[in-house]
Symmetry: C2
Subunit: 173 residues, 2 copies
């Protein structure tokens, strides 16, 4: 059994989702939440809340591996800068705890969860709930975080079957 | 005497510079270096090197306050994302050690160091060396890091004289 933390970084809300995966690739829901970063203080204060919230999730649930969506571009430079800062802080929170991180493109996540690389966000959210047997409607960022965790669960189960190392963007090698 | 760490975040090199400032606002050079982030591994691996390098600098020199350039925008979304990630990771490395951070706009830094908000980078680098009595030519990112540290040194000396709190973007308040 391996416990995977998925992260969907954002400067207003960062989604976190945790699943357990067994040797056959079967996933079980453990935890999910949107870390809400808005409130008092400026943008830097949000990064602080992100780090503290992410640290608490890691302390409480003790994930062994981390998956995060790869980001290629954004609508404009200002939003890219904000997203980049949130992503950098989230990665910092993970790497400081020496957890291995894998990155997946949005199309890989959609393929793994819905079966189509061009699926829309609503389909991803619906399928994540269905795959994990959740009857509640998932908050969007938490659903995206669970989606990337599920993607990593499937990739590592396939890698295990084939007897190859799961690719890791960085971390323990 | 207060020890200030200035940071100039970048995804290829992150400059760090440390100065001591006394009650009168006089600054003394302590340390500077460009943390080189390129090398083996992908972008995420660079963030890791940034965090480790920054952590070593903080452990060795024990700064009490941190100053960083405020970023408004960037040339394009891709470079903004990369810069944002480096900045977010650097801020994470600082906030996790509970150090107070102040942010300064590029024009404030140029005004503090050169006396003109529209000064160019070469003038800033030259003046940083002159103010700190350094006879060597400074590496550009390290010079920018020292420049933001000097800016904070002057702002806090002025604030002390006026009996007001130095503004802090975040951290201890």
């Amino acid at each position: 059994m391996t416990r995977i933390l998925g992260i969907d970084p954002g400067s207003q809300r960062t989604g976190v989702g945790i699943v357990d995966v067994d040797a056959s690739g079967r996933t079980t829901h453990v935890f999910h939440a949107p870390l809400r970063l808005l409130g008092e203080g400026d943008f830097a204060a949000r990064l602080r809340r992100l780090l503290i919230g992410l640290g608490e999730v890691i302390e409480q649930w003790q994930p062994q591996e981390v998956a995060i969506e790869r980001v290629f571009m954004s609508r404009n430079a200002d939003s890219a800068l904000k997203l980049g800062q949130a992503r950098g802080a989230a990665l910092a929170g993970v790497v400081l705890r020496d957890l291995p991180v894998s990155e997946y493109a949005a199309s890989e996540i959609k393929l793994a969860v819905v079966g189509r690389g061009g699926a829309d966000k609503a389909q991803v959210q619906h399928m994540v709930g269905a795959m994990l047997g959740l009857s509640i409607k998932l908050q969007a960022d938490a659903a995206d975080a669970l989606a990337v965790a599920i993607t990593h669960a499937h990739v590592r189960a396939t890698a295990n079957r084939l007897g190859v190392d799961v690719r890791q963007a960085w971390g323990r090698k």
